[in-house]
C-alpha cells in the first residue's frame, strides 16, 4: 500500500483544478449523486447530440479521489457516444476493483486511478461520479446513491 500510488500527480492536479467544473446551463439532463458514508455530493450535467455526449460538466464537494475522478471522467467521456461510455465505465470499474490489473491503453488519463484498488474503502469515492453520470444519461432526475 503506497500513498504515492493513490495520490498521483494527475489526481492531485485534477483535485486542485477540476476540469469542466461548474453548472451547465442548457443541459439536456442532470443527476445528483450522494455518498452518505463520507458526505460527498456532486451533480453531473450532460448535453447530448443523439447518442453522443457533446458537453458534460460537474460540480460538487468531495475528497480528492472523488473530485479528481469526476474531473477525469468529464474529460474522458466528452464527445463519446453512450455505448462507448458504458464500456469505458466497465473498464474503470475493473481498474478500481482489481489490484493487479494492467490498465487498458484506451483508458488514457483515467489509468491514474489504478492506485485506488489498493484502498478498498475509497473505491466508492471514485465511482460516485460514474453512477451519477449514468443516472443523468438515463434522464433520471432522481438522486442516486452509492449505498
Amino acid at each position: 500500500m503506497d500513498l504515492k500510488d493513490l495520490y498521483r500527480d494527475v489526481i492531485l492536479d485534477h483535485n486542485r483544478q477540476p476540469r469542466n467544473f461548474g453548472a451547465l446551463t442548457d443541459a439536456d439532463a442532470h443527476a445528483d449523486g450522494h455518498n452518505p458514508l463520507c458526505g460527498d455530493r456532486l451533480t453531473v450535467w450532460v448535453q447530448l447530440q443523439g447518442e453522443r455526449i457533446s458537453e458534460v460538466r460537474f460540480e460538487g464537494k468531495g475528497c480528492a479521489i472523488s473530485t479528481a475522478s469526476a474531473s477525469l471522467m468529464t474529460e474522458a467521456v466528452k464527445g463519446k457516444d453512450t455505448a462507448t461510455v458504458r464500456r469505458l465505465y466497465e473498464q474503470v470499474h475493473t481498474l478500481l476493483t482489481h489490484p493487479n490489473s494492467a490498465p487498458d491503453a484506451s483508458l488514457g488519463k483515467l489509468a491514474a486511478l489504478a492506485g485506488v484498488s489498493e484502498f478498498p474503502a475509497r473505491v466508492k469515492c471514485a465511482t460516485l461520479c460514474w453512477h451519477t453520470l449514468n443516472a443523468a444519461l438515463e434522464r433520471s432526475a432522481d438522486a442516486v446513491t452509492t449505498e
Partner: protein, 411 residues
Amino acid sequence: MSTAAAPFDVTRVRRDFPILAQQVNGHPLVYLDSAASGQRPNAVLRAVERYETHHHSNVHRGVHALSQAATEAFEGARERARRFLNARSRREIVFVRGTTEGINLVAQALARPRLGPGDEILITGLEHHANIVPWQMVCEQTGCTLKVAPIDRRGELDLDRFLGQLTARTRLVAVAHVSNALGTILPVERIVQAAHSCGALVLLDGAQAVPHTAIDVQALGCDFYAFSGHKLYGPTGIGVLFGREELLEEMPPWQGGGDMIRTVSFEKSTYNDLPWKFEAGTPNISGAVGLAAAMDYLEGLGIEAVAAHEQRLLALATAELSRIPGLQIIGTAAHKAAVLSFTLSGCHPHDLGTILDSEGVAIRTGHHCAMPVMTFFDIPATARASFGCYNTEADVYALVAALGKAREVFG
C-alpha cells in the same frame, strides 16, 4: 470513589490491551478512535472466555448447574451495572444491545403510547442520529412534534434558548450527556432540573460520557440513561438502559417473546417482572459478563484518574493541532471530553483519514452520525481524534507528524 493518590501509569495500562501491540501499514498502531469503539483489556477478554469455557448455558431456564451459573453471571452483571450507575434497584437496569436500542425502547414503550398531537419532544442540535431518528419515528406515529434547541459556534448548547423552548407542551427531553462529534459536555444537571420543573421526563444519551465520567443516576435525577458497553472497553452488542422503576413499571413491553412473560395462553399472556419484561428472547449473556468486567476494570483504574489523563492529552493535542496552518478545530466548548474534531484546508477529511492510516494512525472521518452538526458548521465531514485510557503523549505527536505528512501530500 477516591483515586487521588495513585499516579496514572499509562505504560502499565497499555499492557492490558493486547490489540495495541501491533503494526499497521508498517507503523506501530496509534489508536485514536475510542469514541467510535474502545479496545478491550485482558480482564474483559478473559472474563468472556471464562464464561464461554466454563459457565455458558441459557439463563432463567434450567435447574442444571450450567444454567444456574449462567443466570448468576448474567444477574451478577446486572448488579454490577446497578452499582456503576448508582441506581436504586436492579429492576431499573435493562440490558439492551446498545445506546441505540435503549433509546428506541423508550421511544416505543414510553413516548409512543403517551404522546399525541400538541405534545413536544425536545432534543439539541448536537445529537447523534440515534437520539434524533427514534423521536422522528415517534412523531410520525403519534403526531407529536420534535423541537431542536440550537448550539452555538463553539458547539455549546444555547441554554437560554433551550430553556425558552421548554414549555408545558414538552413531554420528553432527550439529550446527549457528551457530544460524540464535538466532545461538548452538556450541563445535564441543569437540563434535568429545568425539564422536571416543566413536568417533562428526561432521557440522557450517555454513550460518550460513561468512559470519562462516573455516573450517578440518582444525583443526576434523570428518568432514563442509556449507554453502550463497547465505548467503555466492553464488548459490542451489549448496553444498558437505566429507567426509573415507576416509569418502567407503567410502560408496556416493547418486544414480545420468551423470558418477558409470566404465563402464555392463546387467549392472553401476562408479563414478567422488571427488568425482564423488557428483555424478550435469550440475551447477550457473555456480553453482559464482559461489560461487568469492563466496569470493574475502569473503576479499578479510577474513572477520575482516566478522565484527568485524557484531559491532559486533549489539552496537548489541542495546543499542538492549533499550531498547524490551515487546521481548524470544530467544537471548542469550555467543557469537553477527550474528542478533537477538526478540518484541514485543502485536504478532505477522507483523504486525511487514508493518509493517517498509512502512518498507522487510526482516526474517524466522516459525519460521525451527526449530519445536522456538519450542516450547522457548513462542512461535509470532519476528522476526529478521540482519546482513551491507553493513549499517550507519543500518540499525540504521532498524530501531529502524520498531519504533517498530509500537508506534504496536499501541499
